[in-house]
Symmetry: C2
Subunit: 351 residues, 2 copies
């Protein structure tokens, strides 16, 4: 597998066909794992880090390659390819930017990715379209079992899995659900929702995870606590919280449709008009307008744009994706033009 | 003639087909005249004002009606009809808002209008499409001669025509040219242009004459001096000034096209996208966006919108025109919606 093989395809989580897809973009499950025989990366000298990568890579080739989960070394990858993987949510920003021996194994449908030498020796991720907590957990659990049979994970009988950062000790499990909450934002209820979630010990982040600002009314909700609870308990708790947020968003959508019809229609159609006509557009404005358009599609105001096209545009309009598509390096000014042209072509079918 | 007869038609000046129409919207010539046997309106008691109106109206019926210049009494006209006439540039804002006996005579093609009992007893106006100073002056001169044969005008051998306000004494002539200067504005050269014009004793006003702010990059240039010069001199002086402004605007359009192509295209196409999709829009935003679109049409970037459609939209999207078209009173909120719908229908042919 080469990075370029991914360009033409749309990962499973991007199809936008999962359950509750009017509000839930994707479900992400992550497990942090470390090898018992090696020091944590925070204290590992450079040669040890290289040993870890080599050891894991060999195992992956035996165990994962036959299952169509292929390993891509990142160390000597250029910046565009690294950012490309980050833009697709296959690796973290830190993993893309970091130095030293590192890599990622990716399944053909992009639902599975395993970062090697990120913060922990291994970071397993399953990303699925819509709300699929059980399905995603089952998939990652099978993967974890398979890897545990082939790699010796650091596990403490009392604390559970040991991790580089204490916040991940125990299950090493992080569940994240990416929600699209435009009606809650438009009706100025978002602070109320976010405060409730924070009080319940959930972390709220932006479109690109840790340290990113909310953009385009996308909010990623994740559990903070990994220790002292079983995986099952963590999942069940989140499964209780999410429906409340979904109901809230849907109620506000209905309310806005009934009480602020023209304002809502105007906002949505203007977004469509600008996206379909602009000649230069930034990433941020694109995300904001696509977000508004997504609301219009889920409310069936906009009927000629499939949700999959929108989901594709969110990913493909990012800097590295654009440069991959155009097969050349683009200056920021050229990117804004290429972005506008691509959106226009996909939305209204004209140049 | 009733006010409603005007709704379906487009006055001569609005066709947008006159000379230099890429920059010059219209040429307006006005003559202030007063009847010698009556006091100025500033000091005329109410019954005298009524006498003036009656006297003039009778003459108009004899002299103008056969020439298809018909008289409309304004006194008992409702506010929408009055504003409608103002929006079409057939009467002034003051004439629309004023109390007391008053009226206006209008030619079938709307090129000629004569306000009765505005600031002066008579205000003759000829309004033509594009730059037509000579043609407009010849037309108003013939009208003036015709009226002078039938009404005794106040004329002083030394000062010329006497008027209610000293600034109009002499020729009573005001020439105004409405210019569209988007490139000069976009390149931040407008202050330079306006300062030069002011130094040459020209007044610069907005789209709706005296006391209005510039909107949509439209600027009305008029002579300030009416005394001590012949009509011929006043016209010749303005005919020297205008080409300089036109050349400046055109040079900047070329410069912007060459040096800021994407920015210019983006601005123009976004205007098109918003106008073609908005569900609610204010008068001001409509004028600003139509102005940008007008630039796009004159630069042949937008090829599917005729200049006449744009010119029509400038006029028809105003509050009273919209209410006339919809045949009912509309609240401001309803007007913004009706405006958006009308623009959308005319621009892209969809509801």
């Amino acid at each position: 597998m080469r990075v370029d093989d991914l360009i033409g395809q749309q990962g499973e989580w991007l199809r936008g066909t999962g359950p509750e897809s009017d509000v839930v973009i994707s479900t992400r499950v992550r497990l942090a794992r470390n090898l018992a025989r090696y020091p944590f990366l925070t204290v590992a000298p450079i040669p040890v880090r290289a040993d870890i990568e080599k050891h894991v890579r060999q195992r992956f080739e035996e165990v994962l390659a036959p299952r169509k989960i292929e390993y891509l070394p990142i160390t000597r990858m250029n910046q565009i390819d690294r950012t490309f993987l980050f833009e697709r949510h296959l690796i973290s920003r830190e993993h893309a930017a970091g130095e030293g021996e590192r890599g990622v194994a990716i399944s053909q449908d992009e639902a599975v990715s395993i970062m090697v030498n990120e913060e922990d020796h291994l970071r397993l991720q399953v990303l699925r379209s819509g709300l699929q907590l059980d399905e995603a957990y089952e998939q990652i659990d099978r993967l974890d079992t398979l890897l545990a049979e082939n790699l010796h994970f650091a596990f403490h009988p009392r604390f559970g899995f040991l991790t580089a950062c204490p916040t991940n000790v125990g299950t090493g499990l992080r569940l994240s659900v990416m929600l699209h909450l435009p009606a809650v934002v438009m009706s100025k209820q978002i602070d109320r929702v976010l405060n409730s979630l924070t009080r319940l010990n959930y972390a709220v982040r932006g479109l690109y995870g840790e340290g990113t600002q909310p953009l385009g009314d996308f909010f990623q909700i994740s559990n903070q606590i990994t220790l002292g609870k079983s995986e099952h308990e963590i999942i069940e708790e989140l499964k209780k919280v999410i429906p409340t947020v979904l109901r809230f968003e849907r109620e506000w959508r209905t309310k806005l449709m009934e009480e602020r019809t023209t304002e809502l229609e105007d906002k949505i159609w203007r977004a469509y008009g600008i996206l379909g006509n602009a000649r230069t557009i930034s990433t941020e404005e694109t995300v904001e307008l696509l977000s508004t358009l997504r609301l219009g599609v889920t409310l069936k105001m906009i009927t000629n744009v499939p949700l999959t096209t929108l989901n594709e545009l969110f990913v493909v309009t990012q800097p590295s994706h654009l440069q991959k598509l155009e097969r050349k390096l683009l200056s920021p000014v050229e990117r804004d033009q290429a972005r506008a042209e691509y959106v226009r072509r996909r939305l209204v079918g004209t140049k």
